[in-house]
């Protein structure tokens, strides 16, 4: 076999790809990162320094432009797509996909350096021990080939590097991370916490855990990162590098080893398989701008393209040995596509805090209510559970939707107004092999790659769970003394809309029913690792980025061991 050009190729530079690249580079391996989109240069492309008056038309994207280019993306995350941030999101007309009849799917994403780690909402939680055993205990899906204890050291390593603000709570189901100081709760949130925890034994209201620096370490400062400035401009990028993204942290860390090569505009079309050695022998790419094709080679390949894109790359890589797609002897590639599920947000007014306001704009977060269903409360008509995200803030009046004109109207905007408390449940979705992404039989994108077809629906468990979650939220609001309690609507969130897609190349113990082993290494192809959301055997209910990074770090170090032992 010819000498490989690189020790490792990492496909994708986002949340998990950045961590894979960092760990592989720090082990002394020569690493190529292939990013399908253009380069983001913070000095040029972050827009966090724009003042409100420096954006055109209230920073809204022109309506015709939304209809032409962002009809899916804007429909899914209107809150994040502004005139000054639209360059972080794909244009739907350039990156089409299809949905099976009677279903719909939100595939919300950006193609550029660091991927969605630039636009994420930064909520950061560990999975708990129960999340790794639930499938086995309930006979759902397949058993995780890993237990919580296996991943603890990698959580610790990643958290120390990333920087997570939060509070130590000692909860079994939501273990503490290595923390920097939490963003303190508002008075209304403290009151809510006290009343809910008194009324509902076993429920906890804690500060949201978010990947923002509040006490930057020497290592973080050395990477040019500094503490959060409470601007809440995070969807524009952060010139202070205060929130974690791979562009703010892992990619610079990989770069400084001298072992990183990064190529942009490189769309992977397939992986070449060498049956004689049972190895991937090449990664075929096409340049997004020039359409020039070329093949790179390496001893090991990490797919970190996102759960959906990584599955598509495997499905596109057909050979005599793998007629249905590389590493797909189990027929599980593209199946078990999961997300988190929400339904109505619940909101109410908290009185008694009219003489209070806040200073600074807290980024993301607020409160988090860790899962209690089927943990401390076992009377539920559904499996698994959910966590609530939410918080209380002064409502303000700046939208102009109050009566009155003149001085009184103008000055009403100076007052913070009543405090509004809102929560939204993020629930676990059970794995279902019929929820899947496949390749369209004939339709191709402009680079000749098949477009994906989504066929994903929620099941009874998700529906019942979310009905109950809304009732629980209302009961907690009432216990906390909220008035004017309202819910938005009772529909479940669209699959994909929580932007936590996962499960399309699940880990398992049996090669006949799973794609990856406990190291996120393909059962069928030893030099293939997949450490984006695809490996997730179940979804848990926690925001998953931290878990993707912990498994990436663990897999990268395992792969480095195998390379040093000449096994792969």
């Amino acid at each position: 076999m010819a000498e490989a050009e690189f020790d490792a190729i990492v496909v994708g530079s986002g949340m998990s790809g950045g961590m894979s690249a960092k760990e592989l580079c720090e082990r002394g391996l020569k690493v190529l990162v292939l990013e399908r989109g253009p380069e983001i240069v913070p000095e040029r492309d972050y827009t966090d320094q724009l003042a409100p008056w420096e954006s055109d038309h209230l920073d809204n994207v022109a309506q015709d432009e939304i209809n032409q280019h962002y009809y899916k993306q804007y429909g899914g995350v209107a809150y994040a797509i502004k005139e000054s941030t639209k360059h972080f999101w794909v244009k739907d007309d350039e990156h089409p996909y299809e949905e099976a009849e009677g279903t719909s799917y939100d595939w919300l994403r950006g193609y550029h350096t660091a991927g969605r780690s630039i636009m994420w909402s930064r909520q950061t939680y560990r999975l708990g021990p129960q999340d790794f055993t639930a499938n086995l205990e309930e006979g759902v899906g397949v058993d995780w080939p890993v237990r919580y204890e296996d991943i603890v050291p990698w959580y610790e390593k990643v958290e120390t590097f990333v920087g997570v603000s939060g509070s130590e709570e000692g909860l079994d189901q939501l273990p503490d991370s290595v923390f920097q100081p939490a963003f303190e709760l508002t008075d209304a949130e403290k009151s809510f916490k006290q009343k809910v925890e008194t009324t509902f034994n076993g429920r906890n209201v804690i500060p949201a855990r978010i990947a923002h620096l509040t006490d930057a370490t020497e290592e973080q400062r050395a990477l040019g990162r500094s503490n959060c400035q409470a601007r809440n401009r995070c969807h524009h990028g952060c010139s202070f590098k205060a929130y974690f993204s791979s562009l703010n942290a892992t990619l610079p860390a990989a770069e400084r080893t001298g072992n990183l090569t990064m190529v942009h505009n490189a769309i992977v079309q397939g992986l070449d398989y060498d049956p004689a050695n049972n190895r991937i022998s090449g990664v075929r790419v096409v340049d997004a701008e020039t359409n020039e094709a070329r093949t790179y080679s390496s001893r090991v390949v990490f797919l970190n393209a996102s759960a959906i894109a990584s599955a598509m790359i495997l499905l596109q890589s057909k050979s005599e040995s793998f007629p249905t797609g590389l590493a797909n002897r189990s027929d599980q590639v593209g199946r078990n596509l999961m997300d988190h599920v929400s339904s109505a947000g619940v909101a109410g007014i908290m009185t008694g805090f009219e003489d209070k306001t806040v200073f600074g704009r807290r980024p993301s977060g607020g409160i988090y209510i860790p899962r209690y269903a089927n943990v401390t409360e076992n009377d539920k008509p559904y499996k698994r559970g959910f966590g609530f995200q939410g918080g209380a803030r002064p409502l303000g009046n700046s939208g102009g939707q109050i009566a009155g004109i003149g001085r009184d109207f103008k000055e009403a905007h100076k007052r913070p107004g009543p405090w509004r408390f809102s929560v939204l449940a993020f629930g676990e979705q059970l794995p279902n092999p019929e929820n899947r992404v496949t390749l369209h039989a004939s339709r191709r994108d402009r680079w000749g790659n098949p477009v994906p077809v989504f066929n994903v629906s929620y099941g009874e468990n998700e529906r019942i769970m979310q009905q109950e979650a809304v009732k629980d939220a209302q009961a907690m609001m009432e216990a906390a003394g909220c008035i004017n309690i309202t819910t938005s609507n009772a529909n479940l969130s669209k699959p994909g809309n929580r932007i936590h897609e996962m499960g399309t190349a699940r880990m398992g113990r049996d090669p006949a029913t799973s794609v990856l082993n406990g190291w996120a290494q393909a059962h069928d192809v030893p030099n293939l690792f997949i450490t984006d959301g695809a490996f997730m055997t179940s979804s848990a209910c926690q925001n998953p980025s931290l878990t993707y990074m912990a498994f990436s770090a663990r897999a990268a170090n395992y792969a480095a061991d195998l390379i040093s032992e000449d096994v792969i």
Binding site: L50, L58, N60, K356
Partner: protein
């Protein structure tokens, strides 16, 4: 005097963070307007109506008002550059309705005295926020005026005390002492 951007850059460096500064987009194509001119979207009559309503909704007080902040020019740019044809048509129709209602309340809204005009607009505003669904277009207009005003430098910094870099999070500030 330092520009705001130079000031921010100095601050970022002093905080020890990125030296990065985002590219500033081109300043909005907002044309300063007076009530006597036509805009890129608004006719001369529409601009006069928008100007009078903006001034009455957010007058000059100890801080600049909507006219000082060129809210009519901002709305003209919003309608020209942001709004779809459907939104433009709906807005134009709403202005006609608003104009007719205000004329019937005040005789001639544009020529009415400050007091008469304010009384007419107050009544229409009250109807709009008390269930008169035909005035949805007025509520939209009021939203545009208010949001535009608070997005201007005058509205954001002088009226709302908006600061670019708070630098810290304080979850509990007494309004009496905290301004």
């Amino acid at each position: 005097m330092k520009t705001r951007r130079e000031f921010l850059q100095g601050l970022i460096i002093s905080v020890g963070g990125a030296s990065a500064l985002s590219a500033c987009g081109d300043a909005a194509n907002v044309v300063a307007t007076t009530a006597g001119e036509r805009g890129r979207f608004y006719t001369q009559d529409e601009m006069a109506l928008i100007s009078r309503i903006s001034d009455l909704v957010i007058p000059r007080t100890e801080t600049p008002g909507a006219l000082d902040a060129n809210v009519p020019g901002y709305l003209d740019a919003l309608m020209s550059d942001w709004a779809s044809a459907e939104t433009q048509n709906g807005h134009r129709a709403a202005l006609q309705l608003i104009s007719q209602r205000l004329d019937s309340l005040s005789g001639d809204f544009k020529a009415a005295s400050e007091t008469e005009a304010a009384a007419a607009l107050s009544e229409l505003d009250s109807d709009a926020f008390n269930g008169d669904s035909s005035l949805g277009g007025y509520r939209s207009l009021k939203g545009y005026i208010t949001q535009s005003y608070f997005a201007t430098e005058a509205g954001a910094t002088e009226e709302l005390k908006w600061v670019a870099i708070p630098g810290r999070w304080d979850p509990s500030v007494d309004i009496a002492t905290g301004d």
